[in-house]
Structure formats: C-alpha cells, structure tokens
Amino acid sequence: MSDTAANLRAQFPLLAAAPELHYLDSAATAQIHRAALDAVVSHETTRRANVMRGTYRLAEAADLAYEQARQSAARFLNAGSAGEIVFTPGATASLNLVAHAFGSTLKAGDRVLVSVAEHHSNFVPWQMLRDRCGIELAPIPVGADGRLDLTRLSELMGDRCRLVAVTQCSNVTGAWTDVATIVAAARKVGAKVLLDGAQAVQHGPQDVRAMDIDFYAFSGHKCFGPGGVGVLWGRAEALARMPPFLGGGGMIAEVTPEASTWAAPPQRFEAGTPPIAQAIGLAAALDWMMTLDWTAIREREDALCQQLIEGLARIPGLRLLGPQHAHHCEARAPIVSFDIPDLHPHDICQVLDAQNLALRGGHHCAQPLLAALGAEACTRASIALYNGEADIEALLAGLDRARRELA
C-alpha cells in the first residue's frame, strides 16, 4: 500500500502543501521529490566544494558524492559503467553535445535521421549541424496516430546514414517509438542510435543495454530531480571516439599556449564546474525511483490515461492526438493532447487554471509534429505517478466548464 498515489503525492513538498492542486503538466516539468531536495540542501550545507580539484576532506566528500551520483545514473540506465555517464545541464545540452561532438566527425553527405515527432531540442541542433557542415537531414514521418512510420526506414537511411536520433516517447502524443526496429535497421548500415529519453524517464528506469542503443539523453527536472542537470549516456567506445564539445577547466589533460590535449570520458565532456548539488539531487531521485514497483505504477498510470481518454471521447468534436488507446502502456505514455474545435488551448488552460488544474497549451516545442498532424496548438494533460482519479475527474469537469465559459 505504500505506493498509492496519495502516499506518493505526500512525498512531493509542493504537492503536499497544495492539496487543491491538480498538477497535470509533468511532461513540462515533474515535481521534485523530497529526497532530491533534501540531498541538494544537505550537500550545500555539509560538503559543498568544487569537484576534481581539491584534496581536503570537504572536497573529497564532494568528489565522492558526485561520483556516486554517476553510479546511480548508471544503475538507472543499466549502463555498462559509471564512466559512460556524462552530467550535463539538461537534455537539450546533452543533445547539442552529441550534435557537436559526434557531429564534428561527420562529413558532408553523411545522413542523420530524426523524426517529425521530435521536440525542438532534438530537431534544431541537427538542422544547425546540417547548416554548419552539409550533412543530409531526413525526418522519419509519422502516421495519423502520431507514431513513427517506419515502413520506408531503410530507404530513408540510404547507405550513408551515420546516426538515427529520435525520441523514445513523444512529449505531445505520448507515442512510444519502436526502438527495436530502428536499432535493427541502423545496425545494418552501421549507423548509431540516439534516444531522447526526456519523456520516458519519469515513467521508470531504463535499460540502454537491452535497447542496444548508443546514446541516451534526459533531464533531471523531468524525473523528480532538480533542474539544471541532465545526463548524456554514451557507449564507452562511442564517447572515446568523440572530441570534446565545450572547452574549459576539468576536461583537459594538458594545456599549452599552442595546443591542448583532452582528458578521457566522461571528464572530457564536462568542461567547467559541473552542476554538483544538482547531480547529487538527481541521484537521490533516481535512487528513490529504483525502489518503486514500476509494474504497479505503470498499471495505475495506464488506467488514469484510459479514464481520461474515455472521458474526452464524450466531448463533441474533440480530437485526441496520438494513439487512441494506451494499450497497457505499449502504445503510449500517459501524455494526452487534444484539440477542441473553436476553443483555443490558451483559453482552455486559463479556465482550467481557475479550477486549480495545471495544464499546458501550445505547440509544446514540437511544431513539425503538430503541423504533420494538422494542428497548430493543443492542450496537454500529462500524468505522473502522483496523479490520481480525482485529478482526471477534475479535469473532465473543468473542460465542461471551459466549454460553457468560453462559448
């Protein structure tokens, strides 16, 4: 019984202090777990020091906690070793890191596949790389249900595809990507596979080795940790072959006025003082997540998602974006975006807010996807482990009210 939504909710300071709040915007940012916040405070008040620089006890304690955070992240992803974990400022930074560092090893004419379903953070960096160095950028299309349409995958890849960089789960439709098919196709032409896991991580630990991918990116603030920190996981061999991205303290072997040499990964990719307390807070969140019963949580998230989808289906004219059923989490994560004719998402969200419902309306940083689905903006409810039936009921009631009030 320790994992009921109410019990979980009580562990989130903001939600515990605001019992009236129906927070349904976890896809934008998840609330922070008590343990993560406590870890930040405890680090700052008992062992704050720079890492990889000092030899005094405070600095050693900070080093140790920071390296243990790397191990937590490695366990959360089932990475081969902690040395494959690069701490970054967030998923966007992780993705840009790969676009620059791996990107600098590509030649004009090499191809990178993204998808139409990408968040701008996994789309724009590749457009910028294309403009910098003449790679070909080909977007995998989506079907009417928002899932990646992989029927012409090998054709899209051609024989110079070097990387497939796709989202694991859409932040608009919740659609899960068929990673296995992509990995199999990529392996045939020797392309690497990067997964943008930003939306996946709040729904449970991941297994990068089982997925057999090469890079994985995510943000701490989307999995109950602090903001300002994220992770790039890369296979040891892949990281070892990449030049650094940012230059600065901590990433060098030696600097002379003429030239510099680089440290080994992961330090090579962590220029400057990293987000130390934030990485330690993130580790606390991940450690906590690893204690949970994810089968039970997924079942609950799935049931709430289904409850919401069914409730929405009763609203005349409403269009649900993405897969029409959760199919026991196989088809979609509990991220539910919809469009109601003649009602603008901003106006809907405004009326919902007056009823303590926190939802986001807009293009959700996924303009190519919305364009492909024939929408400009939509309203999104995203469900996390602390949500319960009351949140869904309040949302459905709130939408009724919005329709009356805005008519």
């Binding site: 403009d131 998402p345 405004q350 007056a354 309306g361 807009g362 293009h363 400009e376 009030e405 805005l406």
Partner: protein, 160 residues
C-alpha cells in the same frame, strides 16, 4: 457563466466573435506577420496608408480569444491613426496590463483586458496584434528604420 473577475468578459468574446477587419487588403502598402513562439499563434496585419494615416486595415488572426479580440478591436478602431498614435496606445495598453495605468482614455474598450493583468503570460496574446500593426506601419514607411531589438520572442531575427 461569467463571474465578475473572469478573464472572459462578454466584451472580449463579442469582439473576438465579430472579427472586425478580418480579411486581406488588395491595396496594402504595408504588411507584417508575427507569431507567438509559445503557442504558434499568428497575426498577419495589413495596412493601406494615406498621408501617413491608416486608410484601411485588415488582418488574419489565428489565436486565442484575447488575441482575436485585440485584433478585432484594431480592425474596428485603427483607421485614421498614424504610427505615433498606434505606438502610444500600444504603450498605454502595455502599462495598463502591467498594472501601472488605467485603460487609455481614448480607447475605453481596452478596459476589457484589465482582468488579464493577473496573467502575465497572456499579455503577449493581447499585445501581439498591436505589435504586428506597428511592424506593418513600419513596413509601409520604409524610411523609418527599425534598429532596436524587440521584446523577447516576438520576432524572428535569423533564419537557420
């Protein structure tokens, strides 16, 4: 359904519904398109100038009620104004939304946006048509260069 402090006063809904000035001009002398990068809302504003004053105005607006109401209000009221007058009203509206001033005396209808004061994230929805009109007026009088970078996020400065 409208409580007194609700954002969605009848006035706003009526202006949005009426969509004054909706459409395009054949003889436009200036045009601007602006979008709200948060939601993809768009305003395309066209003007025909006569001796520096707005002789005709038309817009195509894809947006929320606030944005559509503001565009419709401009469609109904902007004819006859020059650039300076439009900028003055826009500044007064901005000040009103920030809570620093009452509704502009010359445009009492703008009071319908007073309840938006409490919602800073919506101010740009109201202001977008005004900014588009200012840009359209600049485009119509090309000798007036636009040098200062504009408020965050409303303009596209570089093409990727």
């Amino acid at each position: 359904m409208n409580s007194g402090d609700s954002l969605y006063q009848d006035a706003i809904k009526q202006f949005a519904q009426a969509a004054h000035g909706h459409g395009t001009l054949e003889n436009a002398t200036g045009e601007a398109k602006l979008n709200n990068p948060l939601c993809g809302d768009r305003v395309r504003m066209q003007v025909a100038l006569d001796a520096g004053r707005i002789a005709a105005i038309a817009h195509e607006t894809k947006g929320c009620l606030l944005c559509r109401a503001a565009a419709s209000l401009l469609g109904a009221r902007a004819a006859g104004m020059d650039s300076a007058a439009v900028e003055a009203v826009s500044d007064e509206l901005d000040a009103m939304l920030k809570g620093a001033a009452p509704a502009p005396a010359a445009w009492p209808e703008l009071a319908m946006f007073v309840p938006a004061r409490a919602h800073a994230s919506r101010h740009r929805c109201v202001l977008l048509p005004f900014r588009a009109l200012i840009d359209a007026l600049k485009a119509a009088s090309p000798e007036v260069r636009r040098d200062a970078p504009r408020g965050a996020g409303d303009t596209a400065n570089t093409t990727g």
